[in-house]
Amino acid sequence: MTTTPLLTAIGGEKARQRLHALHPAHPGQEAATAGFAIALALSLQRARDAPLLWVQDRQATAEAGRPYGHGLAALGFDPARLVVVAVKGAMNALAAAEMGLEEAGLAGVLVDLPPRLPSDMLRLGKRLSLRAQARETPCFLLHAGREPVEAPVATRWSVQSGRRQQAAGSRISQLPDLRTAFDLTLTKNRFGGLGRFSVAWRPVASIASPNEFNHAIPEFVFSDTTLSEPVAASAANRSAGTGAVLPWPAAAA
């Protein structure tokens, strides 16, 4: 595992045995959400050929599209490592994820959850979380609904495709930078601070030949991380003991 600022912020190795919730920042960012989940799984994996289970609810697939092999390869993930299971409904999706987490040696389990979630999501999430911990396999809950997933997750992300390059070249005549990058908002983090990240997902070695056909899939890592922390830490994020209540304005005393 290559340590990068992003992974350090979410606890490094510890993030491997946890449940993570990822939400698209806007409708239509479902691919960015899945792409970031795969990037995280690849960064946390222990073996380069470890398979990945992608549980897809049918409704979620209809709205966000199915995984596409060439797109996966372009993110540095060999599609031959992917096992997809198509299920109907959140309960089945969570059951399939649980079956995946019972096996040791997966790179991760991705769950495309439908917008409607069961009422006892907290309990079901706890089960997944315990299994993830036991098998040291990260589980990523992808949810595009209005409400966040009520589950005991270690991190909660709001994800969209990276936009900083587009701001510089907004004219259509210029070639856009379509390299993979993510703008992330970390809204819950059990291992550290919250904040906004902007990361690129780049191949480790530059691909020298401008040949679009490659049989070998390059290895990718997070790079160019910029982090902006919030001005004030949220209540949940303050470390215990340092919080002193100060009167304001101080001069009034």
Partner: protein, 481 residues
């Protein structure tokens, strides 16, 4: 007797039309049940079953005990049946229908040397001939099978056809005849008759576990593994339920197979109705294959061999398939075609990859799933193909400054947004070199990678050309990460 006559005699008579299909279904169900005596169960429509009990009778205490047991169980289910046991299917057919029988329908058990004598008094209809031949024989005064046995064969064959002598020979065992079974005979099977019917789910699972152990012992002896298992449980009242599971690799591990069966039993859409209990459980390996030799540790090393990824995937896929169905567990298969929606297909694990329709005519060359290169982006360009693909592509309204120009504004899913950047076009034409490949209205698509105002990265295409027969239409085909 006609219905009108019967109703005239008995005015309160209730009449139902004959439902041949329902009768056939019932006969099927009884045949399923009869599976407990032998795997070779054939039908003799419209109302009979033929069981080949060669080599199976001793398992039930001999032929007489088997016949009595079958008659008693059938009667307990509310049916009346006539049974007979004979050395040939033809003789058994004739004896069961026209032979002597006691009050319970038990017919004779005929040894090979008594075959001729026992057939002789039976009517000719017992020979399974067509009605015209039977009528012709009766007109000639030949009423019993014995009448035919004493006559010269050549004139009989000349007058009534070769079928008559053939049927006669079949009944006597001169011509061979085999029963065509309803289901293929499984390569390996084990069964568990239960003295006391079982009701609880755990007991069924335990019975399945015991059967798995004995089946695996049988398979290991042959160096094989099971790829498909069928567990049949028979209820006391004759209803048989079959539960099927598959394994990606030939497997002879009783624990793993039982795990799959238990998963399947736990996730049945209509659970097993125990009723008065199950009294017979059978496990058959319907598909087997040679097992791949496993490398095991030398004694004393004490460490389990590392689980390789392939084995992990097949174990996981088997378990998921047992729970959700085999066709729901998919893998990405890459095919050698330039058409984006066919270049990569999600197929059920273990299925052969179909040759892409548009790219090469079926059978012309094998699919080169392993050779297909990935379209990975080179430095600076970003991915050329989206991470998620819409199937089918979603229609979108596009505005461009000039007809052939790059898109400027899009309206998709009730949202109208400006396009911040566009890259393209990448023209992908239909497979024009294959006759009949151009099923769609157009033969070329222009693909663009675009970024809209909100930062979404879309893969859109224009289907058709300006100036063609139909105006071009735009679609969103995928989303980039």
């Amino acid at each position: 007797m006609a219905l009108a006559q019967a109703q005239a005699m008995q005015p309160d008579l209730v009449a139902h039309p004959h439902d041949a299909a329902a009768d056939a279904r019932l006969l099927e169900a009884i045949a399923d049940w009869a599976d407990r005596y032998t795997p070779l169960v054939g039908r003799t429509p419209p109302d009979g079953l033929m069981l080949d009990i060669t080599g199976a009778a001793h398992l039930h205490g001999g032929e007489a005990a088997l016949q009595a047991d079958l008659a008693a169980r059938i009667e307990a289910q509310g049916f009346s049946a006539r049974t007979a046991i004979a050395p040939t299917p033809g003789a058994a057919f004739a004896l069961a229908r026209y032979g002597p029988a006691d009050r319970r329908g038990l017919g004779p058990i005929i040894a090979p040397d008594g075959l001729r004598d026992s057939l002789a008094p039976l009517p000719i209809a017992g020979l399974r001939l067509d009605p015209a031949t039977v009528a012709g024989l009766r007109r000639s005064g030949l009423k019993a099978i014995g009448d035919l046995l004493t006559r010269p064969r050549a004139p009989l064959a000349a007058r009534f056809g070769a079928m008559l002598t053939h049927r006669l020979d079949q009944a006597l065992g001169i011509d061979g005849e085999s029963i065509s079974p309803r289901r293929p005979i499984p390569p390996a099977e084990v069964s568990l008759p239960l003295v006391e019917p079982i009701v609880r789910e755990e007991d069924v699972s335990d019975a399945a576990r015991r059967l798995c152990v004995s089946l695996c012992a049988l398979l290991i002896e042959r160096g094989e593994g099971a790829r498909h298992l069928v567990l049949s449980v028979s209820r006391v009242d004759g209803v048989v339920r079959r539960v099927e599971v598959g394994a990606a690799e030939p497997c002879a591990d009783a624990k793993a197979l039982h795990g799959l069966l238990a998963l399947r039993l736990g996730s049945l859409e209509d659970p097993l109705e125990a009723g008065y209990g199950f009294d017979f459980v059978r496990l058959a390996a319907t598909v087997t294959g040679p097992r791949v030799a496993e490398a095991v540790d030398l004694p004393g090393a004490g460490t389990a061999p590392p689980d390789d990824a392939a084995r992990l995937v097949s174990r996981l896929a088997d378990r998921l398939a047992a729970r959700f169905g085999r066709e729901q567990v998919l893998t990405v298969a890459m095919t050698d075609t330039h058409l984006p929606e066919q270049a990569d297909v999600l197929v059920a694990r273990g299925d052969k990859v179909l040759v892409a329709r548009g790219d090469s005519p079926a059978g012309s060359r094998p699919p080169r799933a392993q050779l297909a290169p990935f379209q990975v982006a080179f430095e600076g360009a970003g991915p050329l193909r989206p991470l998620r693909l819409f199937e089918p592509p979603e229609p979108v309204e596009i505005m461009a400054s000039v007809p052939d120009g790059p898109p400027l504004r899009l309206r998709w899913r009730r949202q109208s947004l400006g396009i911040a950047a566009a890259e393209g076009p990448e023209r992908i034409a239909a497979a024009w070199w294959v006759a009949g490949a151009q099923k769609g209205p157009s033969d070329a698509r222009d693909y663009y990678r675009v970024v809209d105002e909100t930062g979404r990265r879309l893969w859109i295409f224009r289907d058709g050309l300006f100036g063609g027969a139909k105006p071009p239409r735009w679609y969103v085909h995928g989303l980039f990460a």
